[in-house]
Every structure is written in structure tokens, then in C-alpha cells.
Symmetry: D2
Subunit: 179 residues, 4 copies
């Protein structure tokens, strides 16, 4: 089972990344920082004659990563009660790839397993719930299994280390991934 | 009361824009299409010594629009069960402007009134609810009044015109704005 | 199409009932006030050997009503951000009837169409959303179509009459039911 | 800090009760099984001249328990995507006690801390979220701190013991309560 960690943060070593590293400690995995990639917003061409055309940015490389891994760990700080903008643009482009004739995107996605890690400064246990519900809809649309999520609390960098429930749940994930 | 229509769509004359035009028919207002603007993703610098610096994109112009209007109508198609990526980047940058010394962003926002229009092809009445809850949190954070929202249904361009409940609610808004 | 209006209120002529009457004006329908019925809480016997036994209260009569109608309009004021206790007990008992050998409850329910009317004093547009999501799950579980819902605002008796959006949506329903 | 465990289950030794016992292991606390109490549904008399009158059931005794404890652990299986009917009737009556002249119910409640334990057979991590949002609104209304919640999975009696994340979170609570 090959693991891909898809990071939405705009900042390195933030609290959400710390939680992910706890979950992935001593494991082999690939980390992709969406904020470092050039990902253009989708342009909706579902109803135009010419359809979608290949977009010249870093998404082709992301597609290879998506297809070549089995487990996705989506890690995002809670920005304005949602995933970060770069992660949203990442998902929005799926509308294009669902119609891409080079592959059956939905069929590919339906084989994957999704995990979600969200951190927030104030009250993630409540305020991140709409985002979790959004992820549920996203994964269900492509028949991807939504295995589990962790909501961690932390404001200053490193704070999440004292969120015992979040850290110990990340450790449980680590044991599952290792076995 | 000056009205600003903030559009998240990537496509012109989509269903969400049709609903907005129904709500704003015969009124003076300014329309801003976020997808046509250059809006960079926020880079979180809350915890860095140098803090945020001015970003060279179209946001300065958007700030002027935000400050100069009283009513905001946020119009977005439901992309992957959320607002569009460009609209998400638009909100993410508020983190920066909350810390901008040129103005008191939160105090300015707290004087505004927010309306939301969302359309989706499948089942907006249920599937857009996490997004509405996200908007509620966003507006509450800056003490902006969240006056009302419309959830419209439409897949093919123009479909929303047969969503009687959505269209007639837009008309009610129009009467309120006109009076 | 025979219509059953299932009322959760503990008070007569409350705002939610007013909205229902607007939706059902000049139509033939049966109204059932759950608060006037003797409905015992479910006793979970899924895991006991003897299974469920017939409960001596008014539910047998309710079952006849459920089976004999095609459209259900569930009307409830928002009590503590949920349906009223009597309506909750009404649904809880479905666990028993799903295992009742006299009929195939789920198959029967899957033929019905559900409408929901909720009123609240403060901010139903936001605060009733978890309840709407709960109804969505309930109806989906028995494959009942969740056609639509109305969220009305009103505190003092009669207040909802000035909630134009809610009243006009009820009128739209009335036109649909009449045609 | 005196602990009150308020149980909504209709069945003894269910999965939600097992989780609560894990959280409360070796601690002194009082357990109240709402299903064993006579709790009448509220009758809304906010708008009637005579107002509420004292109801002859077991709630007076519950009030004493509520006032005499500092921490409430609300434990409920997920029945039809919500709290159980008896627990709903328990909360509905708060509308009456908010207007009771013998005490300042809201002020009393605002001193308490709330914990919530929910178990479900299928997918509590997603399907219990509307209920968690409902609890959030309930506690916020009376200014009670909503400290944390656990969502446990289990269908057959005892199943929840293999939900490691839930069980270990209950253990963390236990350590907090003990210290």
C-alpha cells in the first residue's frame, strides 16, 4: 500500500504537517505540497463544444502521483472554515479529469482510501465539521473510501503536540499503516 | 446601500449568475468576477517575524470594492461541495488583511450585509448545506450579518430558470433591495 | 396522491402548523398530531432473543395512516435544535417496524415522498440545518424521496406569516400538490 | 468536580454505555438512565397566560441531579441519526425550566461542562455529525462549555471495545477526570 500525503498548507512545519508526520512516522511515503505546485483553477467546460483541453501546469505530474499511490492522506489547516485555496483548486480540477479520455478517473479514484487531517487554532472539533461533511461528499462522489479523519487543535507552530487525543489517534493510524 | 456581487464561477452566464441577475434586476450594482482577477493564495505569515507584505495582484482593487459597498452578494456554483477555488483564495487572503495596519478590516466587514447564492446540478438543498454552514462561520468571524441564502438547482446552462422556489426567492430579494 | 401531515408541535396553531396549512390549503389531507397520541419510546430489542413484541399504544393506528398515504409532510417547530421529542419517539420506533414480520416497512416507506417544514424563533436558516441533515439521513435509510423543505421564522404565534420567503414557498408546494 | 452520566439508551450495557464506563472507570459518579425515568414531553406554554406549571413526573429529581453535579457526560446511541427520544424529551423540558422562577436555570447550566458520547453501528464519524452540531447549539444556548465528544462504532453489544480510537480517547478523558 503506497501512501501519498497531500498537503494544503501554505506554511512549512505547521500543526497539520506535524500531525501527518506523527501518522506517517518511520513509513515510506511521498509528500506533495500543493502550495508549491502550479495548479490553475478549473475552467468549467462541461457545456462547451470543444470540451476540456490539457492545462499546462503541474497537474499532469500530480495525476501520476494520484494513480501510483493507494492511500491518500489529505492534510490541511482550516482556513476560513474550509480546506485551503490551493487544495480547493486541486479538487476542482477533478471535474476536468472525470471527462479525460486518457483514463477512467472515477474508476481509479474508487480504488483509493482517503484519510483527512485538519488542524485549527480555535475549535476544530466543531468548526471543522462542515469541512468533514464536504470531504465525505467528495469521496462518495468518486466512490473512494473515507477511512477516518483527525481534528487537531493548535495555533502557534507546534501547539498540536499537546493535543493528546489528536496525537494518539495519529499514532493509531501509524500502527495501522505499519502493519 | 451599494451592492457588490462577488462571483466565483469560472464560466459566464452560468446558473448561479442567472439567479444573481434575477435578484439584482433593474438595480445598480457592481459585479466582480473573481476568476478574471489575479488573486494569489494566501501565504500564512502570522507566525513569521516580518509579517505579511503587500501582495502584487488584483486584491488591492478588490479591497477598494469591498470597502465601498454595503451589501455583498456572494454567488458561486457548488464545485466539489464547496465554493470555487478562486472564491476560496479570495477569503483565505482575509487572514492577511485582518493584520493590515492600513485599515481595521474586521471593523469594516462588520458593517456589511452578506447574501449567498449557490447553485448545483444535483441536490443543492442538501449537498450545499456544509457550504452554508461554512459561510455562517466566515461571516460570524468578522461580525458580518448573514442575511439570507438561495440554493438553486440547475445543470445545463439556464436550467435554474425552472427552479421556481429559487427564482421567486431571488425576486423577493430584488423587492427588498429596491425598497 | 394522498397526503398525511405529521405534526410534532406540542401547541395548537403554532407557526409551523400555519406554514403547513398554507402548503395544504384547499387540499384534502389527514393531519396527525403526534403530541396527542400515546407513542412509547422504542425499546431496542435488536439483540435480544425474543425480539420486538407489539407495543400497546397508538402506533398501530399510525402505521395504518403511514401505509395509506403517499406524501408525508413532517411539520415540527425546532425544539433545542432538533425535532420535538414526540416526533423523535415516532421515528425511533421505526427500528421496531423494520423488523416487523407483518409487512416490509422499508419497502413501504421507499414508495413515499417526504416534505419537511420547520419553524424557529431565532435563525432557522442556519440553526435548523443539522435537523435537515438528520432528516436526509432518515429518509435515505428507508429510500424515501426527500422532495423539499421549508425553514420558517416566527416566535410569537402567527409571526411566520410575515416570513415572505417561507410563505411563498409553501404556496408553491400547494400549487404542486393541487396539480 | 462531581460527575453526572446522563444515559439515553433504551438498552442496558450497550456500546455507548461501555464507552462511558471506560471514561469513568474507577471514578465516583452518578448514572441516570433517562429511559427508566418518567419524563413527559414538554408542552409549550411560552405564549399562554398561565405559563408553565410544575409537571408531575421524575424531572424534579433530575433537576436536583443537574444542579448538584459539575460535569455532565451525555451518552446516547445514535437512533435515527439523533439522540434517543427520551433524551430529546429531557432537553425539550429545559424550555420550561428556563422560565421557572425557583432558580436561574441558564445561569446554573452555564457553570457546567458537557461531554458527549455517541455510538452507532454504521458510520458514526460522519452520520453523527449533525447530532454533534445540535449539541453544540444546545450547550451554547445555555453557555455550557462543550469540552469534547467521542464517536464510537459498534453494532453488536460489546463491539465498541475494538474501536481503538474511541476506547483510547475515553481513557484520555478518564485520566483528565482523575487528575
Amino acid at each position: 500500500m503506497k501512501i501519498l500525503n497531500i498537503l494544503g498548507s501554505s506554511r512549512k512545519e505547521g500543526n497539520s504537517e506535524i500531525l501527518s508526520e506523527q501518522a506517517l512516522s518511520d513509513l515510506q511515503y511521498k509528500k506533495v505540497c500543493l502550495a508549491e505546485k502550479n495548479i490553475k483553477p478549473v475552467v468549467d467546460k462541461r457545456h462547451s463544444k470543444e470540451g476540456y483541453s490539457i492545462v499546462l501546469d503541474d497537474y499532469e505530474e500530480l495525476l501520476t502521483d494520484l494513480f501510483n499511490h493507494d492511500i491518500y492522506i489529505f492534510t490541511t489547516p482550516l482556513y476560513w472554515y474550509g480546506m485551503t485555496g490551493p487544495m480547493k483548486n486541486f479538487f476542482d480540477r477533478w471535474s476536468q479529469y472525470l471527462r479525460d479520455e486518457r483514463f477512467d478517473f472515477k474508476a481509479e479514484m474508487s480504488k483509493k482510501k482517503a484519510y483527512v487531517i485538519v488542524t485549527a487554532g480555535a475549535n476544530p472539533k466543531i468548526e471543522a465539521l462542515p469541512l468533514i461533511q464536504q470531504f465525505e461528499y467528495i469521496f462518495k462522489f468518486v466512490n473512494m473510501e473515507f477511512v477516518d479523519y483527525i481534528l487537531g487543535q493548535g495555533n502557534l507552530p507546534g501547539d498540536v503536540r499537546v493535543d493528546k487525543a489528536a496525537m494518539s489517534k495519529a499514532l493509531l493510524w501509524n500502527q495501522t499503516f505499519s502493519s
